[in-house]
């Protein structure tokens, strides 16, 4: 196990260290004895971007299959062992990654390492395992998309905004693909992407560093690396025209989603767009919450964020309208405010307020061990270097008023946007 790099984590004396095994597995470790627990996360550089039409949703299906059965553990035993030890375990899949997380009391490190190494190499993929998870995933899709108007709009937004890049399809997959993915598809996917040289283990908490590294070496060291295919995600062509769609839904008032093509998380303009977003939608005094919710009372809530993706994603704006007000009214106000911000009309305090809010949020997310591990794993997997996490705070501080105006003008242009709306299927007074 070789030490690759290290970086201070906050000002309280914590340090993040990265090691690498001979088979390519990366290990990031932060020893923090503030509570007798630890977070153990395994980040695989595989997400829905690595799928194709016909097998959309397979990366997410693995999030389920990985808890099912291995050569050494029957179905359900993984969860049972973690819970018997007092821990909890779950996983998440998105466009660029899949990660598996275990939170356990400090005495259970060996268990986490053994179980995670085992399912990286020895997963059982037969008809029984795949079929038992397929229906659960179909139910999850009904829950998150079919019966959830926000989930539905989010799916339609990306479907319309991306035409060639894999961000076009939803991470949970189209229902027709969930129903059609074959066992052979699963076996190929597992052999290809579930390998030490496609993974980063992140361990934060009350652990002995040397002991942890020795255990990891012993359990993962023998797992062979894999030939990871070159990422062939097709670049999305420049959007040159606004795209729009709307649907009647059982809602009381219009729901609006606007997505502008935005820079990826590793881009130099990402921080400036974050600051711009904070000025527009970031708190109760920000421009658009004030205008839409407080002053005009045409909307009941607003939200916006830039997708933290490896490739250019979307700057997403969501507005829930108040009864009797059409989404078009909110759109007009949003576009007007973007125009003003793009032309540099900035009150002196706005920039400082936005930066302070972002910094506070940044530190809050890093408080729990799982939050630390998630941030480190995300930066290593998506940006390619966990140390860039520690540049985020400085990145916000460096943003100027001119940067804000520039990114708004450059990215939030009419021809770069896609607009989707849900309208009440029965108009109410």
């Amino acid at each position: 196990m070789q030490l690759v790099s290290q970086h201070p984590f906050g000002a309280g004396g914590l340090t993040a260290r990265m090691f690498r095994l001979g088979n390519g597995l990366k290990v990031i470790l932060v020893r923090d004895p503030s509570a007798p627990v630890f977070a153990y996360q395994t980040w695989y550089a595989v997400g829905s971007r690595h799928e194709r039409e016909g097998i959309t949703g397979i990366a997410h299906l693995f999030e389920h299959l990985m808890f099912n059965q291995t050569e050494h553990h029957p179905p359900g035993e993984f969860d049972r062992m973690i819970e018997t030890a007092g821990g909890d375990t779950n996983a998440a899949t998105w466009v660029d990654w899949t990660y598996y997380r275990d939170n356990l009391p400090k005495a259970e490190l060996k268990l986490a390492i053994e179980l995670e190494a085992d399912r990286m190499a020895c997963l059982t993929l037969g008809e029984k395992q795949v079929e038992s998870e397929r229906e659960v995933v179909a139910n999850e899709r009904r829950f998150r998309v079919e019966d959830d108007v926000d989930g539905f709009l989010n799916e339609e937004l990306y479907k319309a905004a991306f035409t060639t890049h894999p961000y076009h399809w939803p991470t949970i997959g189209w229902m027709r693909d969930i129903e059609a993915i074959s066992i052979e598809d699963c076996r190929t996917f597992y052999r290809t992407y579930y390998a030490p040289n496609n993974a980063t283990v992140v361990l934060c908490g009350d652990v002995d560093e040397d002991g942890a590294l020795a255990l990891i070496d012993a359990q993962y060291g023998k797992i062979p690396s894999s030939q990871i295919p070159t990422d062939r995600a097709e670049a999305e062509p420049e959007q040159t025209k606004e795209r729009r769609a709307s649907w009647p839904k059982p809602v009381s008032a219009d729901k609006l989603r606007i997505g502008y093509k935005a820079p990826p998380i590793g881009h130099a303009d990402y921080a400036a767009l974050e600051v711009a977003n904070e000025m527009l939608f970031g708190g109760n005094s920000c421009r658009l919450h004030r205008r839409l919710v407080v002053d005009s009372e045409i909307a009941s809530s607003t939200h916006a964020a830039t997708a933290p993706f490896r490739d250019p994603g979307l700057y997403e704006i969501s507005v829930s309208m108040q009864r009797g007000h059409e989404a078009a009214k909110a759109e007009a106000m949003i576009y007007d405010e973007l125009d003003k911000l793009g032309h540099g009309t900035l009150a002196p305090h706005e920039l400082d307020t936005a930066k302070t809010r972002l910094l506070t949020h940044f530190w809050r997310e890093l408080r729990p061990q799982a939050g630390k591990a998630e941030a480190l794993g995300h930066y290593e997997t998506t940006v390619g270097d966990y140390r860039k996490l520690f540049a985020v705070a400085d990145g916000y501080s460096a943003v100027t008023a001119a940067d804000v105006a520039r990114v708004v003008k450059a990215y939030l242009r009419p021809e770069r946007r896609t607009v989707v709306v849900a309208t009440p299927s029965e108009k109410k007074s």
């Binding site: 906050g10 309280g12 914590l14 923090d32 503030s34 509570a35 627990v37 179905p75 359900g76 969860d79 819970e83 018997t84 030890a85 007092g86 821990g87 909890d88 375990t89 939170n103 009391p105 038992s132 229906e135 659960v136 179909a138 139910n139 999850e140 009904r142 829950f143 019966d147 959830d148 108007v149 926000d150 809602v251 009381s252 008032a253 729901k255 970031g282 708190g283 109760n284 005094s285 920000c286 004030r290 919710v293 407080v294 009372e297 009941s300 809530s301 829930s320 108040q322 009864r323 305090h349 307020t353 302070t356 809010r357 910094l359 506070t360 530190w363 890093l366 408080r367 729990p368 299927s425």
Partner: protein
């Protein structure tokens, strides 16, 4: 790391959790008067009054207050619940003084401006519309009413269209006068702060807090209705059903609570518990399947939750009803109890893993009149729960045939399927529109 508890201004309590790893401080102020104390017909008063406090205070307008919190890098989160209200912020440590001054203005010197009072009603009505877009939240709202009826926990925290429109400024002022009294308040600070400094800062900023008379009343024992009742909350175009079922349970400080918690954990408290195993792992009928025992000052509910496809709703409901009956009638096994108590004892470390977690738990304990050594003794106490105790608690406090069920689904499609499966024979069935409550 240090944890302290000292007396604060006017008989209040100050809890501090020190931790200097990150440059962050959370401030939390809790009051004991909650939505359960809203009188009949005034559902939503606690929520309305507490929100209105931040819409003008100490001579500052809502705009001034919002801008001031934003400039400090935070927002004031106001959370109303049945047994109290919490006001909460998180700031960088160098902002703590101006942040406390601002919170003190909101809590001690609200202006209750008329223009904002009317506006808040319109905003709350819009919030109610938005709530109806989420089937899970909708199910919980209707379940609370169906299970508790006229009991304080049968009210809605947000209010109804009728009650929100009837709320008044005088009512809000009255709530503030009754709620913001020293003896019914708990201050909490967690993070990069020294305990002595924190207590002094609270005393400095909240010294004007009145002592006042407590208006917190004991929660009555909720009614237990005989038989099975089903409410279908009718919403169009559903492909799935949100199902909640349950009964009132004993209070948190009841001697049987912990044993019942062990029995509930064995039934539906973890991913590998009986309910999840039978519903999701073996049959794939629902993405989630759980049972939870509520904790609060009064008797909260023991509730099971599943959400199958509309097509599979009869099969799932039949299964869960059978599991529920078997659980209460036959109890839990020795093995299940052994697992559940071990899980609860060991996983408790995560309830106190961060200074914010510890502060949250300690505040909840204070608000519910629970023993202060709860956290220190929990693991040992739960480890001693015997199989017989868990079974006895279950049989004492739950009955297999008396069950309140709420399903959010499309009634025209669901009801004939339930009838065909014989699932509503002898059951009181009520179909209600999803957007009228």
């Amino acid at each position: 790391m240090t944890a302290t508890r000292v007396e604060g201004p006017s008989g209040s309590i100050v809890l501090v959790e020190e931790n200097h790893d990150l440059p962050l401080v959370r401030v939390q102020v809790a009051v004991r008067l909650g939505a359960g104390d809203d009188q009949d017909g005034r559902d939503g008063r606690t929520n309305y009054a507490s929100e209105l406090m931040a819409r003008g205070a100490g001579g500052r307008t809502r705009t001034d207050i919002d801008a001031a919190f934003d400039a400090l890098g935070t927002s004031l989160d106001i959370g109303s619940d049945y047994d109290g209200v919490t006001f909460e912020i998180a700031v960088l440590k160098e902002k703590i003084e101006p942040a406390l001054a601002l919170v003190a203005d909101v809590l001690l010197r609200p202006d209750f401006p008329r223009g904002e009072a009317d506006k808040l009603k319109r905003e709350t009505l819009a919030q109610l519309d938005e709530l109806r877009d989420d089937d899970g939240t909708l199910a919980r709202r209707y379940f609370q009413r169906a299970l508790y009826g006229a009991h304080p926990y049968g009210r809605t925290v947000l209010g109804t269209e009728t009650s929100i429109k009837a709320l008044s400024l005088d009512g809000a002022r009255d709530w503030h006068q009754k709620a913001l009294v020293g003896g019914d308040m708990v201050f909490g600070i967690a993070g990069d702060v020294h305990a002595g400094d924190a207590a002094q800062a609270i005393a400095r900023h909240f010294g004007a807090l009145p002592t006042g008379e407590s208006h917190v009343v004991e929660r009555p024992v909720p009614p237990r209705r005989a038989g099975m009742r089903l409410t279908i909350v009718d919403k169009p175009e559903r492909t799935q059903s949100q199902i909640l079922m349950g009964q009132p349970a004993p209070r948190w400080h009841h001697p049987d609570f912990l044993a019942l918690q062990v029995a509930t954990t064995a039934f539906g408290g973890t991913f590998t518990a009986r309910l999840m195993d039978e519903v999701r792992s073996k049959r794939g009928l629902s993405y989630g399947a759980s049972a939870r025992l509520g904790q609060g000052r009064g008797a909260k509910a023991l509730v099971a939750h599943v959400f199958p496809s509309l097509e599979q709703t009869p099969e799932t409901l039949e299964l869960v009803l059978r599991l529920w009956r078997e659980w209460i009638t036959d109890g839990v096994t020795e093995r299940e109890v052994h697992f559940a108590r071990g899980y609860l004892a060991k996983s408790f470390a995560f309830s106190v893993a961060t200074p914010e977690d510890r502060l949250e738990l300690r505040t909840a304990l204070e608000l519910s009149d629970m023993p202060r050594d709860f956290a220190d003794t929990f693991a040992a106490r739960v480890s001693k729960i015997e199989h017989a105790e868990a079974v006895r608690a279950l049989k004492t406090h739950q009955t297999p045939g008396d069950l309140e069920i709420v399903i959010v689904s499309t009634a025209a499609e669901l009801l004939p399927k339930l009838q065909a499966a014989g699932l509503v024979d002898g059951v009181t069935v009520d179909v209600v529109p999803y957007d009228q409550y």
